[in-house]
């Protein structure tokens, strides 16, 4: 007999192993800007080995937020306008000029002459219109989603070969910045006709943009090469390199294990690595290598307190949680100086930032008093109780975020001192996806989002975007705090730039006053380079730009 027991045991082993691994993988997110110092005269030619943490999952720009995807799109697709990663100002790229009407419901772009996609087709107004019709409206039939960055999109209008106009159903002041993000990477007409499947791994070489690089030699799950376009000559004015990319080739190799990435860099097997973990930074700098922490200019890494949950509905409990967490100790213990302590829900380098750090001060005594007042009395086991119910809260482990589990473990220890039992949710993807949408299961949500526009705050908290506070209850679609909704709407739809900044600041203050959030730190995207690599920089949320990179070692 074939001994079915063995077969079943084997199957079970395989399945259990597979399931046990569920928690091991991390997904992407977003990141700031950094650039390496320039020394000597750039050399043209040569190649660079870049070790990535994860493999690409798809290059459809609106869905390319996952970091490895965005890193490719940023180098193969140009944008209408360029956002300077330091000043966050806009400058011409594929569009030579642009204008919008007073209420930001109509945008007109003039398209540069002579730009071609890497398949030789011209980049003109018609194809730009086709790009935004897809990104602004999506195509559910093909599984292609709407870009989160584009709000209120209605239609496009090709005025002439070089002029395209976009119409919006309501003011869309964030649209200009949206056109500069990787989610609006311009692709050739043929590429835009592809179904979702064809944007996936295995077909990366057929994603055609007009950027300085093209994809070649893709090996699913292992990596791909970015090959220079020798005829590239439409870089934004502020780029140090106005011609073809200096490097001939960048070999992107997926190396999931952090210590192997660092070791490979230090032993000269790689020139650039991404995702240097906080605890490894010292090893890299001590060996004389460069660490670049690119800031992500958006909503800080931190906690959203889901105030619609019964336990957190009392503002005093939320305030007690804030006062009970020593954020300084957290940043000092778990992270490095590249992770600056947050002083608002937004990063200091984000547009519209306003300092609200006083709302997040550490004061365990005050925390205890607040909880007493709210009726949560210390139980015999050191955990507070009310009506026989323990003050147990659940926070999700944010796997894509750096050292999330370590940070939350420390927070949990800190909160224990004021009698709060904080549990960390670590689960398989399906359970996790369900749990984080339910405030009865996950009362505190750990996350961040990077985007260098005022809209970013709306992306994070608005009921129909990320909805991290679960202000919109998924069970009955009701809204808990209509005022917050209104304030967030104002950020995304106020046409006047000054008034829009004020709108964002109002939200930041409101979130702090209501004790809805506990920001931890301004999240960077950390790279390290060998000393023979020069000119490395990143776009406004920390995705690498390879156009100006050169190496002085053959």
């Amino acid at each position: 007999m074939p001994s079915p027991r063995r077969l079943i045991a084997g199957l079970a082993t395989a399945t259990v192993l597979a399931l046990a691994l569920a928690g091991c993988s991390a997904n992407a997110s977003t990141p700031g800007s950094g650039s390496s110092s320039e020394t000597g005269k750039p050399v043209t030619g040569g190649s660079l080995v870049y070790l990535e943490h994860q493999a690409i999952t798809g290059l459809y720009p609106p869905g390319a937020g996952f970091y490895p995807n965005g890193g490719i799109v940023n180098n193969i697709a140009d944008r209408l306008v360029y956002q300077d990663p330091k000043t966050l100002e806009f400058e011409p790229w594929i569009a030579t000029k642009w204008e919008s009407n007073a209420d930001a419901t109509e945008y007109t772009f003039t398209i540069r002459d002579g730009v071609t996609f890497s398949d030789g087709t011209p980049l003109d107004a018609a194809v730009v219109a086709k790009n935004f019709d897809l990104y602004g409206l999506g195509d559910a039939a093909r599984g292609l989603t709407v870009s989160e960055a584009i709000n209120n999109y209605q239609s496009s209008e090709v005025v002439d070969k070089n002029t395209v106009k976009f119409h919006f159903s309501a003011p869309s002041p964030g649209f200009l910045q949206a056109t500069s993000t990787i989610n609006s990477g311009l692709l050739s007409s043929k590429t835009l006709d592809l179904p979702f499947e064809k944007f996936g791994p295995g077909n990366a070489a057929n994603i055609i943009g007009s950027g300085p690089f093209t994809v070649d030699n893709e090996k699913i799950g292992t990596g791909l090469d970015l090959v220079a376009r020798k005829d590239y000559k439409w870089a934004p004015k502020s780029w140090s390199n106005q011609g073809r990319p200096y490097l001939d080739k960048i070999q992107i190799t997926v190396t999931p294990e952090a210590s192997v990435r660092v070791g490979a860099l230090l032993s000269g097997q790689a020139g650039l690595i991404r995702d240097v973990e906080a605890q490894d930074e010292k090893q890299v700098t001590d060996a004389g290598f460069q660490v670049y922490a690119a800031q992500t200019n958006g909503v800080n890494n931190g906690l959203s307190l889901r105030f619609r949950n019964e336990k957190l509905s009392d503002i005093r409990v939320r305030q007690a949680l804030i006062a009970g967490i020593d954020r300084e100790e957290l940043v000092k213990t778990i992270y490095t100086k590249n992770y600056p302590l947050a002083t608002s829900v937004l990063s200091k380098t984000a547009l519209g930032y306003v300092d609200t750090k006083d709302a997040f001060a550490y004061d365990p005594k005050k925390a205890a008093t607040l909880l007493d007042e709210a009726g949560w009395k210390l139980g015999s086991n050191g955990i507070r109780e009310k009506d026989g119910q323990p003050l147990t809260l659940v926070v999700n482990e944010a796997a894509p975020q750096p050292r999330s589990f370590d940070a939350l473990t420390l927070v949990s220890q800190q909160l224990k001192k004021i009698g709060v039992d904080l549990q960390i949710l670590k689960a398989d993807a399906g359970t996790y996806a369900k749990a984080i949408q339910d405030a009865n299961q996950v009362q505190i949500y750990h996350s961040m989002v990077g985007r260098a526009d005022l809209d970013v705050i709306k992306s994070q908290f608005y009921s129909k975007n990320r909805n991290t506070l679960l202000n919109r209850d998924n069970a009955d679609q009701s809204i808990g705090d209509p005022k917050l909704e209104e304030l967030l709407q104002a950020v995304a739809s106020t046409a006047d730039p000054k008034a829009r900044i004020e709108a964002s600041q109002t939200v930041q203050k409101y979130l702090a006053d209501q004790a809805y959030v506990i920001p931890f730190f301004e999240e960077p995207q950390v790279f390290a380079t060998a000393n023979f690599v020069h000119g490395f920089s990143s776009e406004s949320v920390g995705r690498p730009s390879f156009d100006a990179v050169w190496v002085d070692k053959q």
Partner: protein
């Protein structure tokens, strides 16, 4: 011949069962791949948009129809598409199966060599004094985490001694460390069983007879004991396949190799059902084949088993006692 046909029929039944169980289990798990993909807050999609996408993906199709559809697809060699990335599962597997197959078979061969080596060293007459060291090796090997071993090997051979690069290694260079990493934990149970059965066989009366007729220890070990001691280890080899897959997951991740293990790990984390179904079926197939081969080879190793072809059922029952 009839026996072989019967075994093939059983194999088909096992595969169908594996497919069905996997399908049901994956459906029973909370959430699904579409939810993980599109309800990820990072995409920032509104509930209406998500609902439209679910309809477009046919998530509202009744489960029995989905089952029949997938089963027919599998029978026709169409494994569907990855939900997460959209890439055809067939293409994903085609990229990774050869690499994993090579890694697993080399790892297995190395494990067998290692196990035999340890067994010989533990029984060599000249090394009696330190035999206990070799006897302790399997326990040590089985306790070494694959993950840790891989990293240590890379640190020493690639980063310190700089003998073998981990980035852009040659086809042979790239296999040395992963094969070693995989072989060590697999060799441990094999060596344990080999050592024990050698001990057992050495205690049999016939050994005393051979010894009495003047055979040296080496002669006894290689000519008389080896053949008798190998059978239990051989049974174990079939079972170890499961561990080989588990080891490959970790090894492939540490060494950044594309492979079935890594594909599975990613698919699990995204609950990517079509990939998982294909992987389960693939594993089941390999498992069935290996067991078939092991069973068919028994009579070759032990003529007593071959002589009683009609008593197959009884033999298997006997063997199971050894295997368990």
């Amino acid at each position: 011949m009839k026996y072989v046909l019967g075994r093939l029929g059983q194999a088909a039944a096992v595969l169908l069962a594996a497919f069905t169980v996997a399908f049901v289990l994956l459906q029973a798990m909370p959430g699904d791949a579409l939810m993980i993909k599109f309800e990820n807050p990072e995409l920032g999609l509104s509930p209406d948009q998500i609902a439209a996408l679910r309809v477009a993906y046919g998530a509202d199709t009744p489960l029995p129809i989905q089952y029949v559809h997938s089963l027919l697809g599998f029978l026709g060699g169409d494994f569907g598409y990855s939900i997460q990335s959209g890439t055809p599962v067939k293409q994903l597997l085609a990229e990774v199966v050869p690499g994993t197959l090579l890694l697993a078979s080399l790892g297995f061969v190395a494990a067998v060599l290692l196990a035999v080596g340890i067994t010989i060293l533990a029984n060599l007459p000249g090394l009696r004094r330190i035999a206990d060291v070799f006897r302790a090796l399997p326990s040590l090997f089985v306790a070494v985490p694959v993950f840790w071993l891989g990293i240590v090997l890379i640190q020493v051979f690639s980063f310190q001694l700089r003998l073998i690069p981990v980035v852009n290694p040659g086809p042979v260079e790239g296999l040395i460390l992963p094969v070693l990493t995989l072989a060590v934990p697999i060799s441990a149970p094999l060596a344990q069983i080999l050592i024990r059965s050698v001990d057992d066989v050495l205690g049999y009366p016939f050994v005393a007879v051979v010894r009495a007729r003047g055979a040296g220890p080496w002669w006894i070990l290689s000519k008389n004991v080896a053949r008798n001691a190998v059978l239990p280890a051989f049974t174990m080899a079939g079972v170890l396949f499961g561990e080989l897959i588990g080891g490959a997951v970790v090894t492939e991740t540490v060494f950044g190799r594309a492979g079935v293990g890594r594909l599975t790990e990613q698919a699990v984390s995204q609950q990517d059902t079509p990939i998982l179904l294909a992987v389960v079926l693939l594993s089941a197939t390999v498992f069935v084949v290996i067991n078939l081969v092991v069973d068919l080879l028994y009579p070759v190793l032990d003529p007593r088993l071959g002589a009683r072809k009609r008593g197959i059922a009884r033999i298997s029952r006997e063997r199971k006692v050894v295997a368990v």
